[in-house]
Amino acid sequence: MSAPIPRGAPETPSRPDDRPPLDPAVLRGEFPLLAANPDFAYLDSAATTQKPGAVLDALDRFYRESNANVHRGLYPLAEKATAAYEGARGEVARFLGALAREVVWTRGTTESINLVAQSWGRASLGPGDAVLLTGMEHHAGLVPWQILAAERGFELRFLPFDARGELELERLEALFEDGRVRLVGVVHGSNVLGTINPVERIAAFAHERGALVLVDAAQTVPHRRVDVRSLGADFLAFSGHKAYGPTGIGVLWAREALLETMPPWQGGGDMILSVRLEKSTWNELPYKFEAGTPDIAGAVGLAAALRWLDSLGRDRIAEAERSLTAYAVGRLAAVEGLRLLGEPDERGPLAAFDLEGVHPHDVAQFLGKEGLAVRSGHHCAQPVHRELGLAASARASFAVHTTRDEIDRLAEALVRCRRYFS
């Protein structure tokens, strides 16, 4: 471990952004895939985002100009690679208002949460303990804990959501009453209901009762300011590919003091300080959790994506998407036979729905042929659907490049779709 870790400074306090509002039609031009397909409406950004040219260029440039393995090379190219890679870590830290040594690279949100479960959880949880999850977790926020609970014998509890898709916070008191809850896992933005959950309040409540808080920010990092300290998170996970970055890279952020106490998860090169045949000792943070050659180019690409987001301005993005989402909700709600899943107070840029008499698969296939890409299925959130009495739903999700025109096309196609199948 050779390169000094750049320090991420807490985010500068947000100044009002007085640039004109973002224009999605113009931003479309920054996405090569969209620019090449002018009639294609990509409404599946919650599954994965399209990539701006700036990110593709950063990836390509890394391989053409800086490619070498990191940390262990002394020749100039290896130093360049290490500087790019550790610089990317610093940029992620700055983006989250964290320290660079608190940023652990993973493949994505799923691996981040598994890391917490298998390192912190396996070492910390046992019979008599409980982990509290919300009823609207993505499978990534649920299944790792199920697997570990079966192994370690602790209890899983669930905070339910109401008909509008809001968490029933008034139940927290009872759920915590016996003092067994050690961790709360909460999705910041639901990928089905759209709900933006009040993580700050939940964290304050949990911390008063001695529990830690893990935030699944896969659906919020690309869309709004996410500052780990002001959220009050102890762990926070997100995926690069959902934030305009490449596939294969993601982040686990955790408070330094927690990371210090956690045992390593994977073993191998780079995470060690010293290896004897019979025993090894571990490297410092964050390398203790990064065994083997990391996705170097992916890290560089993710940093380029976050830089690109910041250049647009995160508040401007949030504002543009808020207004587009409100428009979409209005247009969709007016489609006959269409039921929106969730009517939360604050909604992220997505809308899942049920179209009476038409299975979501058929909806998506129909829309697909019209050049409208929406997702259908359970969106890796089967319990949410079961709670709503559905097996699956269709979902349209939005990004900085989504236009009102695309929403109009969606609403009109849905009317035709229902006619076609009934």
């Binding site: 979501p360 698969h361 058929d362 296939q365 129909f366 042929k369 299925g377 097996a391 199948f421």
Partner: protein, 152 residues
């Protein structure tokens, strides 16, 4: 005819709207419900035999898309009167043809009555699971695999 139109031929939509063999099958235990992991769709299936050991009737409770419901519906007609071994062999061939495997998958389906309407599925790999679900359920109804928790 576009791929889409071939997928949703009139005969498919007809089977979807009026599925043959549809029934409530509350007696099928949870462990025997077949699920499509992509969408959480589920299918229960029950085979009734005649005194001659042949399949007298297949009933299904399908919660799924047009393709999966139509496939289940067509299955009921296609296997009635077969002995289990014949039905199993047909199921294997249909699944292979849906995946586009074999010498002439389209020819095979087109030589099997209404199943011809499923020939359009091969152009949509993501829908192969939908069309196969009922056939897999039939296979495990006729030859339940030793206790396993894998996807079918």
């Amino acid at each position: 005819m576009s791929d889409f139109d071939e997928l949703y031929q009139e005969i498919i939509l007809d089977h979807y709207r009026r599925p043959r063999g549809a029934a409530r099958l509350d007696e099928v235990p949870e462990g025997e419900i077949h699920e499509n992991p992509t969408c959480g769709d589920s299918l229960k299936l029950k085979v009734e035999f005649g005194p001659d050991g042949r399949i007298a009737r297949v009933l299904h409770e399908s919660r799924g898309c047009a393709i999966s419901v139509a496939s289940a519906s067509m299955l009921t007609g296609a296997v009635a009167g077969l002995v289990p071994a014949e039905a199993l062999s047909l199921a294997g061939e249909v699944e292979a043809a849906l995946r586009g495997e074999g010498d002439d998958p389209r020819g095979f389906l087109e030589g099997n009555g209404e199943l011809a309407a499923l020939a359009g599925v091969a152009a949509f790999p993501a829908r192969v699971k939908c069309a196969s679900l009922a056939w897999r359920a039939l296979e495990s109804a006729l030859a339940p695999p030793p206790g396993t928790d894998r996807g079918s």
